[in-house]
């Protein structure tokens, strides 16, 4: 085996081990997604196809729900944008890491999910490996896990449709998990208070189908309006400490 082959084998192996936590999450949530898709009356191929093209878990769940219940394409596109607007901030944080990439850059950008972003920004690149190659293989493995889960779940749901009522709660549980992760990282009350206040307002004032959008916009307004005020209180508190 040539040295180049050996290096490549090492790269695959290292990236595989790095991707194991994502594999566990993606395969199980992917299976859930496949089951939810078939249970909602959509054709089974919706799950693996969206895993290849959209490749954004929360949006796929939302899209499946909206398309199954007859929502319009413009509304779907707009809510997908709202849901994925956070990706714009991931990109900003890896601009530097991905700047060296050439051929694989388009794929690295396409496959920048929450979990891949988490790995890329928190993992050390193994010694002797080209960082861009490592990130590329890692990103591709993650999508392979997601695709496998979605495919498996869809086939399973088609073969033996069991009572999956309530299984789509896994998505709410996933958001709860991600919220806890946020609480562990962002230890300030403003974003949570803004979001709760905006949600109550949206619940009182608008129809359920417009809830997400209105709550998000009101939250951003609240954050921006109180930005200077928040800054002042924290500056004071830091001074005291």
């Amino acid at each position: 085996m040539s040295r180049k082959d050996q290096l490549f084998k090492g790269l695959i192996k290292k990236a595989f081990f790095a991707s194991i936590p994502v594999m566990l999450a993606y395969v199980s949530i992917g299976i859930t997604f496949g089951l939810v898709v078939t249970a909602s009356g959509l054709p089974w191929w919706f799950a693996p196809l969206t895993a290849l093209t959209v490749y954004a878990g929360a949006s796929q769940f939302m899209g499946a729900g909206m398309l199954a219940s007859g929502a319009g394409i413009p509304e779907l596109a707009f809510l997908t944008f709202i849901m994925n607007a956070r990706h714009m901030f991931y990109g900003i944080s890896v601009l530097d890491k991905y700047s060296e990439a050439k051929k694989s850059k388009a794929y690295l950008v396409f496959s920048l999910t929450d979990e891949t972003f988490g790995l890329v920004t928190s993992m050390q690149v193994p010694e002797g490996q080209n960082p861009v190659h490592f990130y590329t293989v890692l990103s591709a493995l993650n999508q392979l896990w997601w695709f496998s889960g979605c495919f498996l779940g869809a086939i399973l749901g088609k073969a033996m449709p069991f009572n999956t009522e309530g299984l789509d709660f896994a998505m709410v549980a996933l958001f709860t998990v991600l919220l806890v992760e946020q609480i562990k990282q962002v230890k300030r009350p403003e974003p949570y208070l803004s979001a709760v206040a905006a949600s109550v307002l949206a619940w009182l004032l608008v129809k359920p189908e417009n809830f997400m959008l209105v709550a998000t916009i009101v939250s951003c307004i609240l954050l921006l309006v109180f930005k200077s005020f928040f800054k002042k209180t924290y500056a004071d508190r830091e001074k005291q400490e």
Partner: protein
């Protein structure tokens, strides 16, 4: 059928757009301060709203119907604070939700 394919196409284009735009816009210059401010706070805001959107159709006179979802969220959250194991947290909340929504 074609409606589904158009839906998938729209979601794909929008998602790629949200992932690509920083690389297009900020390849040469630094992001503005306002964006950096929102960058820090938008993820917790969005996660809070996503969790609360479970109750978007909530009506006060049918409050009991929300018990399974509320219990599921509390258990998932508590499990995650305790063990920080993604699979355990998701499975715990979902199983409880499915059980309660069949029993109640």
């Amino acid at each position: 059928m074609s409606r589904l394919l158009f839906g998938i196409l729209a979601m794909t284009i929008v998602t790629v757009f949200t992932r690509a735009i920083p690389f297009i816009v900020f390849s040469k210059r630094d992001p503005p301060k306002l964006l950096i401010f929102l960058e820090a706070y938008l993820p917790p805001v969005l996660m809070t709203i996503l969790v609360l959107s479970t109750f978007k159709s909530f009506k006060i006179d049918e409050a009991y119907s929300q018990i399974p979802a509320l219990a599921g969220i509390i258990i998932s959250g508590a499990l995650h604070f305790w063990r920080r194991n993604v699979l355990l947290s998701i499975a715990g909340g979902t199983v409880l939700f499915m059980l309660l929504s069949r029993l109640l």
